[in-house]
């Protein structure tokens, strides 16, 4: 499947803007449970993506996703670089030839498996996976008002990380004290998904 360069540019711009605008909030969330760098790291990564937006948007969609992923891998500077980088790169690798919901859903599921392997983690450890995995289930179901349901799912899933105890990442050092704070990676996943859906709704694709 292949998206128009103009749409790819809008998607990249929207996701990058969203992450950069919420950098302070992500820093604050990460200060509560980690080392406080998630917002700045993600901002640096997406600024690097934006610097290449002309080149990346012109690429075929699988290559564009890989390029976004590689920029994040190289520029983020924390574990979220390889984790989000792997998500985008694996998504690019798994995209179906024809744009179908089943194909995209399968590619997303495969990309999540790659993130699990990269982070040696799974659902319930208070990470981005606690947002991505429920989203994958909703996407797989398909059906009416999919975009609204995906939005709601992302927000509910991010909120659901608040009472969780972290068992992966820097937050796991806090043990019980990680309970009561939203996971910054879950929040950044929610933000990214909302930005993508915003563009697709605007373009009346979703």
């Amino acid at each position: 499947m292949n998206l128009e360069p103009a749409l790819q540019r809008k998607l990249i711009q929207a996701v990058a803007d969203q992450v950069i605008q919420h950098a302070d909030e992500l820093v604050a969330l990460d200060q509560a449970v980690g080392d406080g760098d998630h917002g700045l790291n993600m901002k640096r990564g997406f600024e690097a993506v934006l610097a290449d937006v002309d080149k990346i948007s012109a690429l075929p969609t699988p290559e564009a996703l890989k390029a976004v992923g590689m920029a994040l891998v190289m520029k983020v500077g924390g574990a979220s670089g390889p984790l989000y980088g792997t998500l985008f790169m694996a998504m690019g690798k798994g995209l179906p030839g024809q744009a179908t919901l089943v194909g995209v859903s399968d590619a997303f599921a495969a990309a999540i498996d790659a993130v699990k392997a990269r982070g040696k983690s799974d659902v319930g450890a208070k990470t981005m996976l606690d947002v991505l995995v429920p989203l994958s289930a909703v996407l797989h179901q398909g059906g009416a008002e999919l975009s609204a349901r995906l939005r709601a799912c992302a927000s509910a899933a991010a909120t659901a990380t608040v009472p969780m105890k972290a068992t992966r990442g820097r937050a796991s050092f806090l043990g019980e004290r990680s309970i009561g704070h939203m996971d910054p990676g879950a929040r950044s996943s929610e933000l990214i998904v909302h930005a993508i859906l915003g563009v697709l709704e605007q373009e009346e694709i979703a």
Binding site: D35, D37, L40, N41, R44, V73, M74, K75, V76, G77, G78, A79, S80, G81, P82, L83, G85, T86, R118, G119, G169, R170
Partner: protein, 130 residues
């Protein structure tokens, strides 16, 4: 090129990485290829996949390279860096599950005896349970 296993030290802090490398150097002199990196791309605490790849290449040995890391992101970024290496090098680089300073000194000392990569890794990882 040295026949001994190379050592790479990856810390979020360039000061820690350099300090650990100084301690290894004091033990093993120039018998072991050694490189370190620390800090996020563009500065600040963190680790850089690109810098880790450069360090692996700088400490390259046909016997392989053992990487010592400090915290989560350093490990994830090191694993990512290994995956991005040319295929013929990928299988000869390992990330040791060991404390960065003590692990680097132990691994470096073991490497200077001409031990295999697996042996170097095991020696560093013995520190885990201690």
């Amino acid at each position: 090129m040295s026949k001994n296993v190379g050592i790479v030290i990856v810390s979020h802090s360039p000061d820690v990485a350099k300090g650990a490398a100084d301690m290894v150097r004091q033990m093993v002199g120039d018998d072991v290829p050694l490189a370190w990196c620390g800090g996020a791309p563009g500065g600040g605490l963190g680790t850089s996949v690109e810098a880790i790849m450069t360090a692996i290449n700088a400490a390259w040995s046909e016997a392989g390279v053992a990487i010592l890391v400090d915290l989560g992101g350093a490990e994830t970024n090191s694993e990512m860096a290994i995956e991005l290496l040319p295929e013929e090098r990928r299988d000869r680089v390992v990330v040791c599950d060991a404390p960065v300073v003590e692990g680097a000194v132990m691994a470096g000392t073991e490497a200077s005896a001409g031990s295999t990569l697996e042996h170097v890794r095991r020696t560093a990882e013995e520190l885990r349970a201690a």
